[in-house]
């Protein structure tokens, strides 16, 4: 794994890059630009930056109106607000009309910089994947953020939710990496068990695979950068090959990645399964490391879940 880079930095840089490629790309900010890094656009391409103030419902509607007239708006706010504060607006004027609005949820999951339950977002995947017409993308690293943003502008013409994180994260993809909406990525081959992750948790799945290798097990690591449309075939193939599946997400266990995997395998190829994620609880404000340990989201938690499945099948 290479150097660390924050997803939000890639987000800000890529917005400027996209505007230079397509002047109709615009950014709407809910007064968080210096956190989300949408402020790169405010300072470098001010004509394409629209401050909307602390009023997310209106912001979503404004984006919808812009999209009908040929602009390609990115909504920039925290995931917690994008998924809840303006959800009826998403439903009525973005998702149902199928408008090309790209909703970016910054500071997703529980690692939000000591802000706690108000600013943590652990239901957004469930919420957005339940919305018809919506594409849902959850990148692992800064490289994938950039690739995904290009794809969301160029390759679809409907609404999308892009789930981003705050703090620097290891870079696992190189510049040649090809992101494809709706395609899973095998990060490591293996036979004994499949670790299926989304977002940064896919990187922790790789580390969990290292821990399992030390214990003599070979773990397949499957990264799901797109939650919707969901690459069902890749999930079924991983389950067929290994016979055991662990999922990992910085998100509630209800209806997120684990839920999506369980839905697919339940109907197509049931195998023993464990889900690693938030146990139907609200978070709290604390340093990231403490949160990750307390809420059991670290690589060793993923490896322990895997061991339980492996041990029960011996």
């Amino acid at each position: 794994m290479a150097d660390k880079k924050a997803q939000r930095v890639a987000f800000g840089e890529t917005l400027v890059e996209l505007i230079d490629k397509n002047p109709n790309v615009v950014v709407l900010d809910g007064d968080l630009a210096n956190s989300t890094k949408a402020d790169y656009v405010a300072s470098q391409r001010p004509e394409n930056f629209f401050e909307m103030g602390i009023a997310e419902q209106n912001m979503m509607g404004v984006a919808a109106g812009m999209a009908t007239a040929g602009l390609v708006p990115f909504i920039s706010t925290f995931a917690a607000f994008a998924a809840k504060r303006d959800l009826d607006q998403v439903r009525i004027v973005v998702a149902q009309p199928g408008l090309h609005v790209i909703i970016t949820g910054a500071y997703s999951g529980i690692k939000t910089g000591k802000t706690g339950k108000t600013h943590q977002s652990v239901q957004d995947i469930t919420i957005f994947r339940a919305m018809p017409n919506m594409t849902v993308v959850v990148p692992a690293d800064a490289v994938e953020v950039r690739k995904a943003m290009h794809a969301l502008v160029d390759e679809i013409d409907g609404p999308a939710y892009l789930r981003l994180t705050r703090d620097p994260v290891e870079t696992i993809f190189d510049a040649a990496y090809e992101f494809k909406i709706g395609k899973a990525v095998t990060l490591r081959e293996g036979q004994d068990i499949a670790l299926i992750g989304t977002g940064e948790q896919s990187i922790r799945c790789l580390k969990a695979a290292d821990l399992l290798a030390e214990q003599g097990y070979s773990a397949l690591v499957l990264h799901m950068p797109t939650i919707k449309p969901f690459d069902e075939q890749a999930v079924i193939a991983a389950a067929r090959l290994t016979g055991r599946v662990v999922t990992a997400e910085d998100h509630t266990l209800i209806g997120g990645l684990g839920g999506a995997v369980a839905e697919v395998l339940g109907e197509n190829h049931p195998v023993p399964m464990k889900r690693v994620g938030l146990q139907d609880v609200f978070g709290e404000s604390a340093p990231n490391d403490d949160l990750m340990e307390k809420y059991a989201l670290n690589p060793h938690h993923i490896a322990e879940a895997a061991r339980k499945l492996l041990d029960s099948r011996k």
Partner: protein, 288 residues
Amino acid sequence: MQDLSKERIAELQEIANRVRARVLISVHHAGAGHVGGPLSAADMLAALYFHILNIDPASPDWEERDRFILSKGHSTIALYATLAERGYFPIDELLTFDAIDSRLQGHPDMTKTPGIDMSSGSLGQGLSPGVGMALAARKLNKPFRTYVMIGDGESQEGQIWEAAFVAARYGLDNLTAILDYNGLQQFGWQKPGEHMLPPIENPKRKWSAFGWNTIEIDGHNIGEFILAVERAKNTQGTPTILIAHTIKGKGVSYMEDEYTWHSNVPSDEELEAALAELGQSRLLAALA
């Protein structure tokens, strides 16, 4: 715009009454729907679609067209009747209102109906996309204007005021809001034995405080409405709202100012009486 002669106004008034009649026929046929709000908006819709808006029914998606958003989406049958009169789709299609697979949904769906510029129906949401369209016109150097009709009931939603704040801050003089100020909502603040409270009090003061140019008019006086829209067009640096005083159920005596006709279906006899009052009995005869 054509000259505003007496004859022209009478022509538009006749269209508005045809729209009213078609609203009642459609709702009667569907056995469901809203009538009070559509009737209060009918005069302004006729004026917009037959006199004010720069549109082409043959090209509903023409990029340069003026935009109209019916934020009070439950009044959509009046908009459908207006669009049908204007030639966006066949008049007969109005009888599919609310039926399975119909393009004419109970609340506006921009993906289904030609001429609908924005889906709506969850109240308080229409002004924001209007702000987005106006900002897009400015950004893309397009001359089109955006009109949004809001209700007084939905003005209780906070999002209306979020949009009002942002529109004024961006000085969107290419945006015109129209408040259909009919003074009633579905149920409202009922006080037995007394007149109920209006959905919103003193809208002029509120919108002025938000930085909008405000013009108060009689929303059933088509000439006054058209002149007010002209004044809005000539206003620079701020958005304009036309505060249109209207009567819910306008044109049918037993429906006027009666909140129970917010959504209600006329009986055969009531429909016949209403069409007679509107001078549109022949539309009913044409159906038989």
